[in-house]
């Protein structure tokens, strides 16, 4: 069991630092076992270093920075244990324009062999999509139409 765990853990760690570096343009993300000699008796710490800042535990980062770290963590598990689909509901709500753009590019790059269904209000996400579905209310009931690709966010 421990051997199996360590193999998985090391693979996710590697994925995490690669994806975190991509999302942050050169930052460093690290997963560390609190008790490496006996993993299950301790927890897993998540350290993040954003460009120009010191390394710190993710709990001390800002709202947007914690969203970026959570998304990188989720995508690092995805590479290891492919879930058939992902549903994200406005995960970009607290991201600034630059981070939204980086996220959109990263999702696009990782979408081969995966399915992302992403609810968003942000233009930069919509512009990178492969398919866009517009939801609207008509006569008190929700409807959905497939939108042509080069459209602005419905507002």
């Amino acid at each position: 069991k421990q051997e199996h765990f360590m193999k998985a853990f090391n693979e996710v760690c590697e994925n995490f630092s690669t994806i975190f570096a991509k999302l942050t343009g050169g930052g460093e993300g690290r997963l560390e076992l609190q008790k490496p000699e006996n993993p299950f008796s301790g927890g897993v710490d998540l350290y993040v270093q954003f460009p120009g800042k010191p390394m710190r535990l993710v709990a001390g980062a800002s709202g947007g920075e914690r969203s970026v770290a959570a998304i990188a963590y989720l995508l690092s598990i995805q590479k290891f244990l492919k879930a058939p689909f992902y549903l994200f509901d406005e995960i970009d709500a607290h991201l600034d324009d630059l981070n939204v753009l980086k996220l959109a590019e990263t999702l696009k790059e990782n979408s081969d062999g995966a399915q992302f269904i992403v609810v968003t209000l942000k233009d930069a996400m919509v512009q990178n999509a492969e398919r866009i579905y517009g939801v609207f209310n008509q006569g008190g009931s929700s409807r959905v139409i497939a939108l042509p690709l080069k459209l602005e966010v419905v507002s």
Binding site: A8, F9, V44, D89, K108, Q115, T120, G134, N137, V154
Partner: protein
Amino acid sequence: VYIKKIMIKNFKSFGNLVKLNFEPGFNIVTGPNGSGKSNIIDAVQFVLGELHTRRMRVSDHSGLIYDGNEEGGSQKASVAQVTLTFENTDRNLAIDKNLVSISRKVDRQGNSQYYLNGKRVSRRAILDMLEMAGISPGGYNIVLQGTATRLSDLTPQERMKAFEDLI
């Protein structure tokens, strides 16, 4: 396996039958506040067998059923239904078909009925089949509105526990 089609009828704000055809890759869902975007995600949780109405943002099962609109002339519905069709060419779902559809109905008393390719089955049968392909209603692959930082806000112990569950 991926989601090929979702059909929603009388589930939350979907008073008419709505069909959504999805493809693999990067799909975006957008629209004004209150248009029904999160309700689509609730519909997926519902058909995957989610029992906690709180996770679908309602206080009881009748909150899941379209409650009509006097002005628009549409009536309160008595049953909500969602059908999800998976593309299964890779046979990750242990069913020997290219398309596998699951369906769930619920009435205002909270009685649910589940269907697999049109045949009535138990909830347990649906959950067991989905689990083999790494699908469950409360899975880490579904991130609800307002919880984007959840994976960063876990304690180290919770993170280890989530890791053990995944492996």
